[in-house]
């Protein structure tokens, strides 16, 4: 037996040994529960008495559940707003920090990251003060600039609750993307900018024709991160509005929580989570194929 195959055998065995604790652990507490959710979604169950087998009953009910579809739609809106208000805004800020005011980039980055570090519960509680209908800063600010007529209870009214939550989200997670883009923008070689400067390019030109294409991989990766994060969102919505008033700011996670642990419809709650996962996986697959086509057309896909 040659040394090569014996090392291959040896490394195969070592890899299995070193990986198996983590894999077993993730299997037991992530993969297995997700599959189990698929099984539980076939039952009507209050969490205590005997489960009643429904077959596809929960999914039939789900298909006609307007609250679920609206919640899922809101998750998608959160994702779209995150791509614009977090990812693209962060890219512009990162360009400014690295290229225009580099001396201040560290201190700005530090402050942008503060909300990323703090618990979403704390942030949500603080923003409840900002939005307070009686003494909130948002209303006080509107009065100060002569728009007192627009004052309202932002989190308590159906028309504004969801938008108010999205605003808090965009402030809270922005810093993560600023950090990631600062790292990416710093990697663009100086010589490329110098060549553009000789041609007389200003900051706008440099941003759109050098920085954006050069960090496009990071834009794609960060957008994906923002989409995944948006589908996971729970704590901020829970503490700000708990999906209310009257489901006006409901997202999938808060609806699942209410169904499972408010109404004790465990089977239905499992179905909500399972359906959300399958639908987003499907959406991701379609988006991936679509993006690949565009990317291939533009020659940007690597």
């Amino acid at each position: 037996m040659s040394a090569d195959t014996s090392f291959a055998k040896r490394s195969n065995r070592a890899a299995i040994l070193f990986l198996s604790p983590a894999l077993l652990f993730v299997f037991a507490f992530v993969a297995y529960p997700v599959a189990y959710a698929g099984w539980l979604s076939l039952f009507r169950w209050d969490g205590a008495s005997m489960p009643v087998f429904l077959g596809a009953g929960n999914f039939v009910r789900l298909a006609g559940d307007a609250i679920f579809w609206q919640a899922l739609f809101r998750n998608i809106l959160v994702a779209l707003s995150a791509i614009v208000l977090q990812v693209f805004l962060a890219l512009a800020i990162a360009y400014c920090l690295v290229r225009i005011v580099p001396a201040f980039s560290r201190i700005f980055l530090f402050f942008y990251l503060v909300p990323v570090m703090v618990s979403e519960i704390c942030i949500g509680l603080l923003w409840r003060f900002m939005y307070n209908p009686y003494f909130g800063l948002v209303n006080a600010g509107l009065s100060a600039i002569g728009l007192g007529g627009l004052k309202r209870g932002w989190l308590g009214e159906s028309e504004t609750a969801f938008t108010a939550v999205v605003v808090v989200m965009s402030f809270t997670y922005l810093g993560l993307y600023v950090l990631l883009f600062v790292a990416a923008v710093r990697n663009v070689p100086e010589s490329v900018y110098e060549a553009a400067e000789i041609d007389g390019a200003g900051d706008f030109r440099k941003f759109f024709s050098i920085t954006v294409p050069m960090v496009w991989d990071a834009v794609r990766a960060n957008s994906l991160l923002a989409i995944i994060g948006s589908l996971k969102t729970f704590s901020l919505v829970f503490v700000l509005t708990n999906g209310g008033p009257n489901h006006a700011s409901e997202v999938v996670s808060t609806y699942l929580y209410k169904m499972g642990f408010g109404s004790f419809e465990m089977g239905y709650a499992a179905a909500i989570g399972f359906a959300q996962m399958v639908l987003t996986a499907l959406g991701a697959w379609i988006a991936f194929r679509y993006m690949k086509r565009i990317g291939a057309g533009a020659g940007a896909w690597s």
Partner: protein, 278 residues
Amino acid sequence: MTAVRRWNLTSTIVLAVLTAHVLMVIFPFFWMIYSTFKTNREFMRSVWSLPKSFSLDAYVGAWSGGALGGYAVNSLLIMAGATLITVVLATLAGFALAAYRPRWIPAVELSMTAAMAIPAYVALVPLVVMLRGAGLLDTHLGVILPTAAFNVPVSIFIMQAFFNTLPRDLFDAARMDGASEWKIFLRVALPIARPAMFTVAIVNMIWVWNDFLFPVVFINSPSRKTLPVGLTDFVGEHITNYPVMLAAILIAAIAPLVLFVFFERQITAALIGGAVKG
């Protein structure tokens, strides 16, 4: 490297706009800090002004008036347990992903990436059933195990990114000397990996400390609640005294902020390392 740029009108405008923006982002935190030094009466008179007096009553009220100390201890225990499990498993697995490349490794990486994308709430109902069956519902361990599991995939990638930076010769030299793979991990890889493990530990501490979904669902007993969950109870009970409420929020927020101030470099490196792979 960025060349030194001439300061011009654009720089001034950009600096002004960014300053205004960052102030909006962090104003709630500034406001929280200075408002805790007010008395409730001063707060009610003018909610947004800076404090005229310097009173620590709010902190005394927050600490004595509630169970915050107990919540903090619970958070600390869960944080320590989950972080320990995650760091150990992620170090072993991250080393394996970087050091060995059997054909099936990409499949492992793909499944870890998929696990990172799964929202924790999908597993919520089954986890309750599983934990109840194991007698772990309403215990710290019942929160620790799933919390650690959901943080393992991203932590593996951070560790793998670190081990990838090490030269292969390092391990080959030890192999020539007849060391077993376990010895190579223990004697060669582990000592150099300490800073990376520390980095993974710090970000996990922040994530676990701030986590809300698992503790709020899995724990019922007030004496076992974590700080973010207990805080929502506390705020409900102290609705009339705003500075006390804000002091409680500050107490819950302070641990991650202190970690961030001291370990900014490690934390930002971990976030970049984890995101690039994800």
